[in-house]
Symmetry: C2
Subunit: 249 residues, 2 copies
Amino acid sequence: MNKNNSTLISETLLATPLFSGLDEEGLAQFIQNARLSDHQKGKILFLQGEKADYFYIIKNGWVKLFRETISGDEHVIDMMTRRHAFGETSVFEEGKYPYRAKVIEDSEIIIIPTAILKKQLERNHKFSLNMLSSMSHYRRHQERQIEHLTIENAPRRIGCFMLRLCFEEEACPVTLTLPYNKSVLALHLGMKAETFSRALAALKENVGIEINGSDVRIKDVEKLKAYCRPSCSDSFPECVMSEQQVTSP
Amino acid sequence: MNKNNSTLISETLLATPLFSGLDEEGLAQFIQNARLSDHQKGKILFLQGEKADYFYIIKNGWVKLFRETISGDEHVIDMMTRRHAFGETSVFEEGKYPYRAKVIEDSEIIIIPTAILKKQLERNHKFSLNMLSSMSHYRRHQERQIEHLTIENAPRRIGCFMLRLCFEEEACPVTLTLPYNKSVLALHLGMKAETFSRALAALKENVGIEINGSDVRIKDVEKLKAYCRPSCSDSFPECVMSEQQVTSP
DNA sequence: CGAGGGTTTGAAGTGCATCAAATAGTGTGG
DNA sequence: CCACACTATTTGATGCACTTCAAACCCTCG
């Protein structure tokens, strides 16, 4: 591993909540054993049930975590992007990955042996707390997802997703680009691609959103919030605000 | 607090994964500051957003964790029973409860100040690891719930729930009692009470289950498994097996 | 016994899925 | 740089699962 790579890895890890605030030595343990590599769209990183020798942190790109049912349906557990870590919970799953991972946009990914993770968990209290914190954040994220699936309809689920995407922008109107392709996004939000398409059209109708391929222009953010609010148990903008750093799958 | 209570508390805590294997001193910290008390059906333990000074462990009974949307819909996050802990993640939520808790069957509950939890998290590595492990278990539980909501229909969701309830029985046929009342269970499984009722009838029709009030007799467990399997990404009986110790909400 | 919650049943409506086909968008090799 | 192939997206028509509203029934408990 050359120096350049080492620097790149260190930068990414430091920006990932899982590793933030770690002491020099602990961080060094991870960095020394990390490997940065490029992966093309379509690459399967691992299968469900496979022995989990490594966990992953994304430097750039998109990875889809998913499962398949016996009857062939695909369930998208989550979409991961830069600074997201995944596969790290295999430590608690008898050393096996509980889902599949597929690269869906060309990505730069950092790979670290789970053995290092295990050792740090045993020895480095600060790291355990970090992991606890990021797991807790993710738990909240999942709770919200469950709630949305249960009580929100398709257009509102998309609306909430877009609000999360644009929450950091303060300008009104807001322009944003939908990540990855629409069919995957649809599955991630628990609907079929056709429904997604129609629901987008409904949003266009009801809250005056403009859509151009993957680009979305929200002319009136408040109107979108008002549209989504009635079925959201979290108070806005808290619901929108607190999604920022989801790090653990 | 009398000695008797102290013993009862200690017994329950030891049986709760969150505290299992803790050193004497750490355990004593919790026990010394714990309070065991009875709560009647209907009692609200805390509201969403309330300052979280305490967390809870159930010794006996049932507690419902839920939220309400602006439009008045209720979302049941989870149902907790003996040896389940809840409210403990408020430590990571700016010290506030992220949901409401209501007693739905007369219960004996252990209450411990979150301050103790915080201190132990800071100082007691073993306890942190316990919490990490139980959080990880709960995460899996949530994942499965999300998956079920997305790809399983109502009868199958109920079937999976019953399989989980009866997984420890080895005898066929199996008789079990549905916990708490059916309308709450329905909401917990993401459907309305009417749908629940009709779905039960469908199960009766398709897999030959006998229903008598809250008592369910599964005449052929394998048939039920076969009925649920096609839409389940986990392999049976793993899916059924691994639900046993869910401790963290 | 009567009141009130929980549960079931019926009829009608809604939202999403499904199937099918048309259209737009993307990448490839000639 | 264009033609072709392939994939992603949209649109339409139809069906099914769940919800909604309403009423009846059932159970429990004062």
